[in-house]
Symmetry: C2
Subunit: 455 residues, 2 copies
C-alpha cells in the first residue's frame, strides 16, 4: 500500500490507508489509546483498540513521543460533537489496524510540544526542538520570504548568482572579519556579497543572491549573529536612486502578501499584526526626520549623524499616523558615515543617495546608489584610507563602463524576527552561530579545539 | 521617455524609443558609424549619421567598446536583404537621434567579444570577461539548473533551508577542511551540509539546500574547486533506497528539459549534445559493472574497491548501447569506502545501499541510504575511528526517532562542466577559488596577506 499524507486522510473516509510520521502525543484511556501522529503535512488522531495479537498490543503500549511509526488503518468520520475544529483533519480519526516501528525514541528531556525552556536550552537541543510546531513554522515562513524575494526579482529581469564566501579582503576593512588559513595564505569570510553583486551589474545589469554573510563582532546582543543569510540585490541603468526604493517596495509588499497567501497556517501560530503598507512607503531625509522628531517630542537630535534607536521608533509612529504605513524610508545619511562606494547627492555632497527602510522602529533594508565613475571611486578609496591596489579586481568592473547603479540588502533572520516579534534574532536562525556557540557551546568543545588549532 | 529593452525594439518599428546598454562593437563606414548595443535582453544594431551638432558628432566618434550609453532613436525596418538572421533583432536597426554617455570605458586589454585568451588571463580579468556572451551564458545555464532543482523538489514537498558554513567539526574528519579563527576557538568551513540536512529530516521529512561547500585539498586539477555550490537533498520515510534514485531521475530529467525550454538561446551557443535519457536510468551494482567491463574489454578490475576512470567511461558506453541512456546508476559501493553513516545492504553488509549517477563517464550525483538507527550509528562512528562525543549534536536527531532516510548531492559547477563539455571546472564557477587564486592571484597579494596574518 502507498503511503498517503496525513492532510489527505479526510478524502479517504471509510477506506484503509497507510500513513507515516512521528508520535506527537499519547493519551491512554484504559485499554484504548489515542495517538496524535505528525507528518510534514499535518497531524491526525489515531485510535488503538486492543487486538488479538499480544505483540501489537505490547507495542502500542510501549510507543511514546517522537517514535517514528508506520500505521495502516481505516479513516473514520468522527461524530459531530467529537470534531476537533483546531485540527485540519479534525473531522476524522484513523482506527489503527497495524502498527510498525520505524525508529524508537529515547525519553524526551522535556516536553517539546508544550515547550517551556530557555533559549540556550532550546539551542542546545536544536535538532529536537526544531520539531516544535512553532519553532518549525519560523523556518517555513523564512523559506517563503526567500522564495518571494526570488520570485519578485526574477520577474523583474534579475539574474540570481551564487556568491563566494571566501574572500581576499573586504571593501570596508578587516576589523569584523573572520580570518582563515588558506593554504599558505590568509583569507577571510565575506561580510557581504557587495563586491560581487556590483561586478555583476556590469554583466547581467540586474542581479541578486541569497548568501551566507559573516560578522566577527564580539557581540552577544539579541540582534547579532556571526553568520546570517543575506538577501542582496543590485541593478544598473537606474534613472535615479528612487528606482531602487521602487524595487524594494515591490519586494517588501510581495513578501507580506506571499506570506499571507502561502503560509497562512504558520502565520496564524504567531498571529502577528501584519504591517500597514499605505499607498506607498513615505521617503524622508534624515535631517527632516530629526526635525519632525524635535517637533513631536522636543528631543533635539538634529545634529546627530544618524538616527538614534528612539528616533527610529518615533519616525515609524509618524509614518503610521501621517501616511498609514508601518514602513518608512529614511534617506540622505551623511556621506562620512557610509561606505566609500556610496553616491553623494550632487545637490548636497555632505549627504548620500542612500536609505534605510525602517519597520516597527528597526532598520530592515539598507541600500543606495553607488559611485559608478571609475576615477571618483578610486579617489574615494583613497579618501577612506585604503589603497586602490587592494581593489584592482573590483575596480575592473568600473574601469570598463559601469552604468549608474545601486542596490540593497537585508537579512532573512531580521525580517522574520521583526514580523513575528521574536525577542532574539537567534530564534530566526535555524542553526545560529554566535561567540559562544557553533551548534554546541564552544566552551564544551574547547579542549578539542585547542588540540586542533595550528600553532 | 521610458527605457525599453533591446529585445522589444522589433515591436516599435517606426517609433522613437530609448534604449541603454554597452557598446559591443563599432564599425565606422566613413561618416556613418554602426554600433552594436548590448543590454541584458540582447543586442541590436544602431546607425549614426552625422548631425548638425558638433558635440554629438565628436561623441559618436569617440565612443568605443564597453562604454555604457543611453540612446534615443527611431526603430527602422531593415531592407529584406539586410536582415541579420543571427540576431533576434536582426530585422530592425535603430537610427540614433541622441546619444548620452553613462560611463566611459578604458581601452580593453584584449577583444572580449572574440575572446582568445588563456584561462588564467580570463580569470585575471573576470569582471570584464564575464561580459563575453559565451562565458555569461554559462551562468545563465547554471541559474536554470538551480531553479529547476528547486522547482522539482518543492513540488515534491521538500523544504528549502539555509545551511550554515561555519562548523565545529566535519563528520568525515579534518584533513581537507579550512580552519578559521573563531574568537578564541577554531572553527571550520563545511565540506557539505550533510549534518544539517540529516538533522532536518527529523523536522521537515524532506529538505534541500543550495549552499557553498569547501574543500581544502591542495589540488590544481581541472576538476577541483576550493569553494563550490552544492545542491543537496535528503528525505525521510523512504520505503527503499530506490526511492532516492527515483527522485534523482525526476530532478535530472527536469534539469535537462528546463534548460532546453527556458534557456535554448544560451544552450545554442554551446550546442551540446543533450543526453539520451532512455526510459529510465539503468541501475547496476558496482561488481556487476566490473564484470560487464571485463566481458566487454578484457580489463579485469573485478577486485578493485571502486570503478576506475576508464571503467566509468566504459559502463556509460554500455548504458548507452543497451539501455539508450547516457546516464547510469552504479550502486553497492564497498562499505569500507563510504562514510560511516552509509547504510550497509542487509543482504550483503560488505556493500552499501549507495550509488553514483554517472554521466558521460563522470560521477555526477552521489548518494544513498543512511543509517537511521541511533545505536548502529554510534557503533559505526566508533568503528570509523571517531569519538561519538564529537557527534552529540548530530546524534540527537537519531536518538529521538529518525525514520529510514537517505539523500544525494551534486555540484552546480560539475553538471554544467559535463553538459557543456568545458575543459576546466573553474570555467563553471563564476568567481572560482583555488590554491592559487581568490579573485586575484594570491602570490600577488602575498605580502599584504602576511602582514594581516595573525601570529
Amino acid at each position: 500500500m502507498e503511503r498517503i499524507l496525513i492532510s489527505e486522510t479526510p478524502k479517504f473516509i471509510g477506506q484503509k490507508v497507510k500513513i507515516c510520521g512521528w508520535i506527537d502525543t499519547v493519551r491512554s484511556h484504559g485499554k484504548i489509546i489515542f495517538f496524535d501522529l505528525r507528518d510534514r503535512s499535518g497531524t491526525a488522531q489515531l485510535v488503538f483498540v486492543p487486538k488479538n495479537n499480544e505483540e501489537t498490543n505490547d507495542l502500542a503500549k510501549k510507543i511514546s513521543s517522537e517514535w517514528a511509526v508506520e500505521i495502516e488503518g481505516e479513516v473514520k468520520q468522527r461524530p459531530e460533537k467529537m470534531v476537533n475544529e483546531k485540527l485540519a483533519t479534525g473531522q476524522v480519526e484513523i482506527s489503527i489496524e497495524s502498527l510498525k516501528t520505524l525508529a524508537e525514541s529515547e525519553v524526551l528531556p522535556f516536553d517539546i510540544k508544550d515547550l517551556n525552556a530557555s533559549l540556550p536550552t532550546i539551542l542546545d537541543y536544536r535538532p529536537l526542538t526544531l520539531r516544535n510546531e512553532k519553532i518549525k513554522a519560523v523556518f517555513k515562513l523564512q523559506e517563503e520570504v526567500i522564495n518571494s524575494f526570488r520570485k519578485t526579482l526574477s520577474e523583474m529581469g534579475f539574474t540570481e548568482f551564487q556568491s563566494p564566501s571566501i574572500v581576499p579582503l573586504a571593501p570596508e576593512g578587516g576589523a569584523e572579519l573572520f580570518r582563515l588559513d588558506y593554504f599558505e595564505y590568509s583569507a577571510y569570510l565575506a561580510q557581504s556579497p557587495q563586491v560581487y553583486k556590483q561586478i555583476l551589474v556590469g554583466v547581467f545589469e540586474r542581479v541578486f543572491t541569497v548568501t551566507q554573510a559573516y560578522r566577527a563582532e564580539p557581540s552577544m546582543t539579541t540582534r547579532h549573529l556571526c553568520e546570517f543569510t543575506s538577501l542582496d540585490a543590485e541593478m544598473g541603468f537606474i534613472d535615479s536612486w528612487e528606482d531602487l526604493m521602487d524595487v524594494i517596495e515591490a519586494v517588501t509588499k510581495n513578501i507580506f502578501a506571499d506570506l499571507q497567501k502561502n503560509r497562512a497556517e504558520e502565520l496564524k501560530i504567531f498571529n502577528p499584526s501584519m504591517p500597514d503598507l499605505g499607498v506607498s512607503f513615505p521617503r524622508i531625509k534624515m535631517r527632516e526626520a530629526q526635525k519632525i522628531i524635535l517637533e513631536r517630542t522636543g528631543r533635539d537630535n538634529t545634529k546627530e549623524p544618524d538616527l538614534q534607536p528612539e528616533d527610529e521608533k518615533e519616525i515609524c509612529r509618524y509614518a503610521k499616523e501621517k501616511h498609514g504605513s508601518d514602513l518608512i524610508f529614511v534617506t540622505h545619511y551623511p556621506t562620512k558615515k557610509r561606505p566609500f562606494y556610496t553616491f553623494a547627492d550632487p545637490k548636497d555632497p555632505e549627504y548620500t543617495l542612500s536609505f534605510d527602510l525602517l519597520y516597527n522602529g528597526v532598520e530592515l533594508i539598507s541600500g543606495g546608489q553607488r559611485i559608478n565613475d571609475y576615477n571618483k571611486l578610486v579617489d574615494n578609496i583613497k579618501k577612506w584610507g585604503n589603497d586602490p591596489k587592494n581593489f584592482e579586481y573590483y575596480l575592473q568592473a568600473f574601469k570598463y563602463g559601469m552604468p549608474p547603479e545601486g542596490g540593497f540588502a537585508f537579512g532573512a533572520e531580521r525580517i522574520i524576527k521583526q514580523l513575528l516579534g521574536l525577542e532574539n534574532v537567534r530564534e530566526a536562525a535555524i542553526f545560529p552561530r554566535d561567540m559562544e556557540r557553533i551548534d554546541q557551546r564552544l566552551s564544551v568543545l574547547q579542549e578539542d579545539k585547542k588540540k586542533s588549532k595550528k600553532e
